[in-house]
Amino acid sequence: MAEETLSIIKVRDVLVVTMPADPDDATISALQQKVLLAMERSPAKGVVLDVSAVESLDSFFARTIAETTRMVGLMGGHTILTGMRPSVAITITQLGLTLGKMRTALTVDRAFDILRDGSQPVQKP
């Protein structure tokens, strides 16, 4: 089966990562490496992880996102998760996932506002 591709583009000093609709585990695991390498290559102050195309998030996918956020944080960057669908938000909450103290925004546009303004309050789980 063809591996669904992960798109990473740099917009100003922010990396915008677009997750495919239904990635397999290998693609999800590759996310971490690719994002961290991109952080190093193009010094970025933040990462916007857009999940608006994602149809379902299971515990493996969610854990990888939370881990990647921590790793980006260790490298000095902020991560903002954007575009979560209502059905996905309902499902992962019922599944018991909290995603830690992950910062979120409704759209990529709003994530840019948060990153530009810098010190936005951290979203409590």
Binding site: D22, P23, D25, E55, Q94, G96, L97
Partner: protein, 137 residues
């Protein structure tokens, strides 16, 4: 109706989890579930399929339509011949895991579905049946 459902997906590799999600998604949409229930069913299937892959190595997922008075439902049977679950009560505790998971798979899948039944024997394998119901229209 049940004839048109994808009946069985063999779980051999990690990528088969995606195949399970796609088949289950198709079946749930065809049965007329709304998008939130479709997402719940896909997510539960994904957790159960990953458990098979993590703990048993391989297994099979079967999917069928079930009827009950004024309700129609989707039933998923996830079966493997792995090590089995020695203590089901413990396995149902959120956060409990013997492997590298988060310990959310089984209790999470139960919350996302309407019914769950676990049959397991140490050394023989595990069979998990979950159902999601929808009112007939």
């Amino acid at each position: 109706m049940s004839d048109s459902l994808p009946e069985e997906v063999a779980l051999q590799t990690e990528t088969d989890i995606v195949v399970v999600r796609k088949s289950v998604r198709e079946a749930a949409i065809r049965l007329g579930f709304g998008i939130t229930d479709v997402t719940r069913i896909i997510t539960a299937a994904s957790e159960l399929a990953r458990n098979v892959f993590l703990y048993a190595g391989s297994g099979v997922v079967r999917c069928r339509v079930v009827n009950q008075s004024d309700q129609v439902g989707l039933e998923l049977i996830v079966e493997d011949h792995g090590p089995g679950i020695t203590d089901i009560d413990q396995a149902m505790q959120p956060g409990y895991t013997t492997g590298k998971g988060l310990g959310l798979g089984l209790p999470g899948a139960k919350r996302l579905m309407d019914e769950m039944e676990i049959e397991s024997e140490a050394g023989k394998g595990t069979k998990i049946t979950v159902k999601k119901w929808r009112k007939k229209t």
